[in-house]
């Protein structure tokens, strides 16, 4: 077993060697521009792009023509939301999204608000799901788009996407989902799930960084978006720019591998995740799972270790890469807004750790990580005045803290 150990696969994943092999010829020998229509270099590149388009479409139950290549999910989210807002401006200006979305969705919506759009940010139930009745009531005759992520990147909770899409369609509203964390990990089908637009990115599924796609539905309904970048009119006019052929080949191959291996891989992920969870829960008291375990990605565990601040825990396990919802680890010095939306108190949010398992993790690593976490949490609790008070029977919620 080699250290450091990487358990942060929601942030990014390594490129699968098979993906890299598929990409390599497209940097040097097969370097053509996929838009060059009059020689074999161009045809070769176009063929590779078409194959990738098909591989991506197959993974999500779409057709190849519905796949638009982008630079990643940040761009896909921007293009979907801004593109719909602009295209359907005459129909309405109301967008519904949720408090736990990725910043690429939230900040896009905030930008549109500045330009006059109305945005509803749905609250969360404490299990991390949205309340479908609240969603239904939020829809008005001005609503043009609902954007709710498929699976959350911090807590791994999977929304009832098919039902959300159904509600949207009953009211003639388009449904976009940020599918970044779900695609390739759990079965996603745009038809079954009533999805009109979906963002995906390669680097979360063992493909390269800087390439992604937007699924744009072509039938029932035919979705149109206004391009957000002007240029040569590539990707059926929706996204100009010479295609990044090697990366697109990588994204396609990454999708094909995920599709072929998903049943086996998701079983293995949930086995490892459940083992990690069971070990931590059996050896440590006062640990809390954030978000429901019932509707969750198989590779995600998000746990609060009460009375142990997250950054100090990360410091103690410095040969293990995980992330924390603690303010000390965020750029904003605020604890995780996702946990806050679930009603997790700031005190527990500061103690949360996100474990993201991946294809290349082993059972030996899980055992090692569990043992290290247990050891460091115990050590830091010996250092924690809060743990001491709790053990003495003090109800911490009744204490007058000096800093408040």
């Amino acid at each position: 077993m080699k250290t450091p150990i990487y358990f942060d696969n929601h942030a990014t994943t390594p490129v699968d060697p098979r993906v890299l092999q598929a990409m390599l010829p497209y940097f040097t020998e097969k370097f053509g521009n996929a838009a060059s229509r009059n020689h074999s270099f161009g045809w070769e590149a176009e063929e590779a792009v078409d194959k990738a388009r098909k591989q991506i479409a197959d993974l999500i139950g779409a057709t190849a023509k519905e796949i638009i290549f982008t630079s990643g999910a940040t761009e896909s989210n921007n293009l979907a939301i801004k593109g719909v807002a602009e295209m359907y401006a005459e129909k309405g200006n109301h967008i519904i999204t949720a408090a736990t979305e990725h910043k690429a969705v939230l900040d896009t919506c905030k930008k549109l608000e500045k330009h006059g759009a109305k945005v509803t940010y749905l609250p969360m139930l404490s299990n991390g799901l949205i309340d479908l009745d609240v969603l239904r009531k939020a829809i008005t005759d001005k609503t043009i788009l609902i954007s709710i992520m498929y699976a959350n990147n911090e807590i791994g909770v999977i929304q009832n996407v098919a039902e959300i899409g159904k509600i949207a369609h009953e009211r003639g509203v388009l449904f976009h989902t940020d599918g970044v964390q779900a695609c390739g990990k759990v079965p996603v089908n745009v038809l079954r799930d009533n999805i009109d637009l979906m963002s995906i990115t390669a680097h979360k599924i063992y493909g390269p960084k800087g390439v992604g796609a937007l699924y744009v539905r072509r039938r029932n309904p035919r979705v149109q978006i206004t391009a957000q970048m002007d240029g040569g009119g590539h990707e059926r006019g929706m996204r100009s720019g010479t295609l990044n052929v090697p990366s697109i080949v990588g994204l396609g191959e990454a999708c094909a591998i995920c599709q072929a291996e998903m049943p086996e891989e998701s079983r293995r992920m949930s086995y490892l995740r459940d083992k990690l969870k069971a070990k931590l829960e059996s050896e440590l008291d006062e640990v809390f799972i954030n978000g429901t375990m019932e509707h969750r990605l198989p590779n995600n565990l998000n746990m609060s270790f009460a009375y142990v601040e997250g950054e100090s825990l990360l410091m103690g396990i410095n040969d293990i890469a995980v992330s924390s919802g603690s303010a000390c680890t965020s750029a904003t010095l605020e604890p995780s807004y996702v946990l806050k939306a679930l009603g997790v108190g700031d005190d527990l949010a500061h103690t949360s750790i996100r474990f993201g398992l991946g294809r290349f993790n082993t059972e030996e690593e899980v055992d090692y990580v569990a043992a290290r976490i247990i050891e460091v949490v115990r050590r830091l609790r010996e250092l924690s005045p809060l743990y001491e008070m709790a053990k003495e029977g003090v109800d911490l919620s009744t204490v007058q803290w000096a800093a408040e």
Binding site: Y307, V308, E309, E311, S312, M315, G316, S326, A327, C328, L333, P335, G345, D346, D347, H350, E382, L383, S384, P385, L386, Y387, E388, L396, W401, A402, A403, E404
Partner: protein, 138 residues
Amino acid sequence: MAYSDKVLDHYSHPRNVGSMDKNDPNVGTGMVGAPECGDVMKLQVKVDEATGIIADAKFKTFGCGSAIASSSLATEWLKGKTVDEALAIKNTDIVNELSLPPVKIHCSVLAEDAIKAAIGDYKKKQGAHKPAGETVAS
């Protein structure tokens, strides 16, 4: 973020971890910060009655590595000082000693606050213990 060697050393080998009897008249206890803010420091001093010198200091901290290091360092510095010398410890001394980056300065501020709170608690107890006639007339 990279931690300084001194922060790492205090984090890995914290000095003077523990608790003293907070009801002991010679022990002053300071507790600062809040769990919602991600930092709580408890710092205690025990003052030698005869000499007025801090004979022992203990801490427990919930917080990041820099908060743990700041309070660990504070306990080291407190031992052997008089109460008034202890009050002269400044957060900037801690920042310099531990090479804390700007985002961690609040940890040193909290440690200074904890020292002041512990000494304040000790002084309050001593005042309360003295016979009524000895308190300073206002």
